[in-house]
């Protein structure tokens, strides 16, 4: 007769201290994995910091202008400019002065730093709202188009094709004078509607690419087993779309957002340069427009907004790249 296990004393069972012990398996979600990868990527962290700084500048623009002691659009051409309309203090002829850290503008005497800070605000607002709207429309339309069959799919495809055939710049050019004619009589309304028109033009003419992408992904995913299983079980379509399919579409959506934000910043600057941006609200594009003729006589006037746009767009692009890489399970780091 042997010893029954109940009679074995615990002290007789001992383990070899050198036996490797399996560590506790901590379950991490894909998002957590991605975030930890992001934290490890130095470039991504730097870019994130830069973007956050810009966002803070945009939010606190009025505070910052007060901090530097400058004011927006308060230039006095008679007092601040000389006979050739160039500044009487600060660059380009006189040295650096705290009265105008980035100098004042020729012809008007407005402070450049205030314009820069408020311009950052305009650019970021335009970029954020347009990207959000464009992404939202694109994702929703793409999901519905991908998952539906028959006439709904055909109808949505047709609508996407119509929007794709509209030439962006021509529509923007056409809308601008219409707004002026309609709202020209009241200055306050005009500025609001010009801004809104810009946002509408930017969002409504750019959602199509994402819609097509999402639709393609959904088409390939909807025949997969997990989707079939969900349908068989009887999960409502909305739940399938947003709980089952959408998480798999994160990659193209994030790529689209990360490409879209800098593209919209550039688009706003470019449209202002073409004369169809927002008027009356400071923006980098407008400043660049004015400053081009002064590129050799007053370089700082041009380079301040140019670098503003450049650094923001670069940071957003690099950050978007890093985010895409971090979220993709197939890339080895």
């Amino acid at each position: 007769m042997g010893i029954s296990p109940a009679e074995l004393s615990e002290t007789d069972i001992h383990e070899d201290p050198n036996t490797p012990v399996k560590a506790a398996v901590a379950g991490r979600s894909p998002t957590q994995i991605a975030l930890s990868r992001l934290r490890a990527d130095k470039i991504a962290v730097v870019c994130l910091v830069v973007v956050v700084i810009y966002v803070l500048i945009a939010i606190f623009a009025p505070l910052l202008t007060d901090l530097f002691g400058v004011q927006l659009h308060q230039g006095d051409p008679v007092k601040d400019l000389d006979a050739t309309n160039f500044p009487l203090y600060g660059p380009p002829d006189h040295g650096f002065t705290w009265k105008a850290p980035l100098g004042i503008a020729p012809n008007t005497g407005n402070d450049n730093l205030a314009d820069w800070l408020y311009g950052a605000r305009t650019s970021l607002i335009v970029a954020t709202i347009s990207t959000a709207a464009s992404t939202l429309i694109g994702v929703v339309v793409g999901l519905i188009a991908g998952f539906s069959t028959g006439w709904v799919d055909r109808l949505i495809n047709f609508i996407v094709d119509v929007f794709l055939s509209l030439p962006f710049i021509l529509v923007a050019l056409a809308v601008a004078p219409i707004i002026v004619i309609r709202f020209g009589q009241s200055p306050g309304k005009l500025v609001f509607w010009q801004f809104t028109a810009l946002l509408l033009v930017l969002s409504l003419l750019t959602w199509m690419t994402l819609a097509r992408l999402v639709r393609g992904e959904v088409l390939s995913l909807r025949e997969r087993e997990f989707v079939q299983a969900a349908r068989v079980i009887g999960v409502p379509t909305r739940r399938i779309l947003f709980k089952e399919l959408l998480p798999n579409l994160l990659a193209p959506i994030i790529v689209s957002i990360s490409l879209g934000l800098p593209a919209f910043v550039t688009a706003e600057a470019g449209l202002a340069y073409l004369g169809i941006g927002v008027v009356g609200v400071p923006s980098w594009g407008q400043t660049i427009n004015r400053a081009v003729t002064f590129f050799d006589s007053y370089p700082l006037y041009l380079y301040a907004p140019v670098f503003g746009v450049l650094i923001l767009v670069m940071a957003l692009n690099l950050l978007g790249d890093a985010v895409r890489d971090a979220f993709d399970p197939k890339t080895r780091r």
Binding site: D76, P77, T84, P106, T108, G184, V279, R290
Partner: protein, 587 residues
């Protein structure tokens, strides 16, 4: 590639240049600040009926080469009957189409003089100035070798009445010529027009009221020779038949005009033009920053390049030190804020505007360089006009002072509280300089006790908005340029009570006062040219002082840059353009 304004692009400085020509010089080369009066005695020096052909060719002129002219502006037409803007008339009159008389640059006085062109003299008026006779020179030929006849001049005169088919040209012939109100041109009413008679080489033009300035008017391209057999009103402007030293080689409306030598032009018949270069290459609608940079850097072909746009503030300082390549001078234009007399009826309010308007701030914000591209002033007639009187309609106001306190005082006397009286004016949202100037004007008017409401328009539509009778604006920013250097080309064209309510609003103030209309008729119908010129000067002073219908926002100045090998480029102060007729490439 910057496309600031879709479609026709017109430089801001020249935007308000409505009418062409006119304005003989006043002998001043740069800043025409006239202290004291410019009396009518100058009128004599403007004309030289005995100018001899050929025109002198300077010893340092090379033969050959091509001039390149870059400009931001685009001429609206090159049809001689329709040409009225200064760019079209300068290009046509100086280079391609000869008229009965012409303006010629006089180096000694830095002035333009009226001299004969295709006519043998400056015309012979009858004693009552109701009939003018010109004699054509012999030996004049078109670019294809066919001879120019007096009948061709007569046809051109008739063609100028076809305003429906060929609109936008000068319209003095409808006011002054016989049957001007009845005859509608050769396309509608045929060739039977009693107002012009030819006999051999003589052309006689009959008037229905005395017209003392026909010799000046005959310098317009509308009085060139047009062969009736070659005329088609829709297409003539693409290639008008040349009588001048150059002819059209290629014209792409809106972008480019190439001119080459016209071998049928005989210098011994022309006392005003030379034919030194082989050709001209005009490029329209160019980007301002780009063309200024090309010319300033003066590399390669830029040495024979020029522009007739006013130099922008950013480039002015770079070129100001190189005085040889910057041509400055006056052009006979006055910019004004026309106050609508039917809407702003109280004289005190109008005078308050004259004190509240921020002259210097608006000029600077609009990119103008005070003293160079804009000269302050108070008289409506610009410096250099015969008979001009310099006065101050508002005592102490020299055209550049802004005094908000005086403005508030006047408004209070008129019974308005600060911020109560509303001024509505137009600006173009897609023109950055217009927006910046608008901001300064709002600031200035508000400081002066007004309520300023800017109404948005676009560069394309601002001219139609301005002349729209239904528009809510009560001031109109516009101007006028002399068609010739006497008041006769100013007041009947813009300040006559008959013009109120006419299509296109030629009278932007809607000015209609019985005593002023009576005075205009008196000067036009009863005075000789020598007495009329100073009478117009007095008319100017009386009208502004008594009624103040317009705020003088400055006379225009020209500041044009050119390459280092460009010779003979002076300021044609009749038009504010380069003296194309006498330019050459230096050796």
């Amino acid at each position: 590639m910057r496309m600031k304004k879709p479609g026709v692009v017109i430089a801001a400085a020249a935007l308000m240049t409505l009418a062409a020509c006119g304005g003989g010089g006043g002998g001043s080369s740069s800043t025409p600040n006239s202290n004291g009066k410019i009396e009518g005695g100058n009128a004599g020096s403007f004309k030289d009926p005995n100018a001899k052909a050929p025109a002198p060719v300077p010893s340092n002129a090379a033969q050959g080469g091509t001039f390149t002219v870059l400009t931001n502006q685009v001429p609206s037409t090159l049809d001689p009957t329709q040409a009225y803007y200064v760019d079209s008339t300068a290009i046509l009159s100086d280079l391609v189409l000869r008229s009965l008389t012409q303006y010629s640059y006089n180096e000694k006085t830095n002035d333009m003089q009226l001299i004969p062109d295709m006519a043998t003299d400056l015309g012979r008026p009858s004693s009552d100035n109701k009939s003018w006779t010109f004699t054509l020179r012999s030996g004049l030929k078109y670019e294809d070798g066919t001879p120019v006849t007096a009948k061709d001049i007569a046809y051109a005169v008739k063609r100028s009445f076809a305003i429906k088919e060929l609109p936008d040209g000068p319209t003095y012939q409808t006011t002054f010529f016989l049957d001007g109100d009845k005859y509608k041109g050769p396309f509608k009413d045929g060739n039977n027009y009693a107002g012009v008679v030819t006999k051999g080489n003589d052309v006689t033009i009959k008037m229905r009221r005395p017209f003392t300035d026909m010799d000046y008017y005959a310098s317009f391209p509308a009085f060139t020779a047009i062969p009736q057999s070659k005329d088609n009103p829709q297409t003539y402007g693409k290639h008008p038949v040349a009588t001048g030293p150059y002819k059209f080689a290629d014209y792409k409306p809106g972008s480019e005009l190439k001119l080459v030598k016209n071998d049928q032009w005989d210098p011994n018949t022309d006392p005003g033009r030379i034919q030194a270069v082989d050709g001209w290459d005009f490029k329209f609608g160019q980007d301002t920053a780009k063309l200024e940079n090309i010319i300033i850097n003066d590399q390669g072909s830029a040495q024979t390049t020029l522009t007739y746009d006013n130099v922008s503030a950013s480039s002015y300082r770079q070129i100001a030190s190189d005085k040889a390549r910057l041509v400055t001078g006056t052009s006979p234009c006055t910019y004004m804020w026309f106050i609508d007399m039917t809407k702003i009826t109280d004289l005190k309010v109008r005078q308050a505007l004259g004190w509240a308007y921020p002259y210097q701030a608006a000029w600077k914000a609009g990119g103008e360089i005070q003293g160079v591209t804009r000269v302050p002033g108070t008289a409506i007639l610009p410096p250099g006009t015969a008979g001009r009187v310099d006065y101050q309609a508002l005592p102490g106001q020299d055209g550049s002072k802004t005094d908000p306190a005086k403005s508030k005082e006047l408004l209070k006397a008129a019974g308005y509280k600060p911020g109560q009286y509303e001024i509505k004016f137009l600006f173009a949202t897609d023109d950055d300089l217009s927006v910046q100037a608008k901001d300064q004007i709002v600031k200035g008017l508000t400081a002066g006790g007004f309520k300023a409401t800017p109404i948005a328009s676009t560069s394309e539509t601002i001219r139609t908005d301005r002349t729209d009778p239904k528009s809510p604006i009560n001031v109109r920013s516009s101007g006028w340029c002399s068609d010739w250097p006497t008041g006769g080309s100013w007041f009947p064209a813009q300040w006559s009570g008959d013009l109120v309510g006419v299509e296109g609003m030629p009278n932007p103030s809607n000015f209609k006062e019985k005593d002023m209309d009576a005075e205009q008729n008196r000067i036009l119908d009863t005075l000789s040219p020598e007495k009329a010129a100073p009478a117009w000067g007095q008319f100017d002073k009386t009208m502004e002082t008594k009624y103040y219908p317009a705020v003088n926002t400055g006379y225009s100045g020209t500041a044009m840059i050119h390459g280092s090998k460009v010779g003979g480029m002076a300021n044609d102060n009749v038009r504010g353009m380069p003296t194309f007729a006498r330019m050459y490439i230096t050796k």
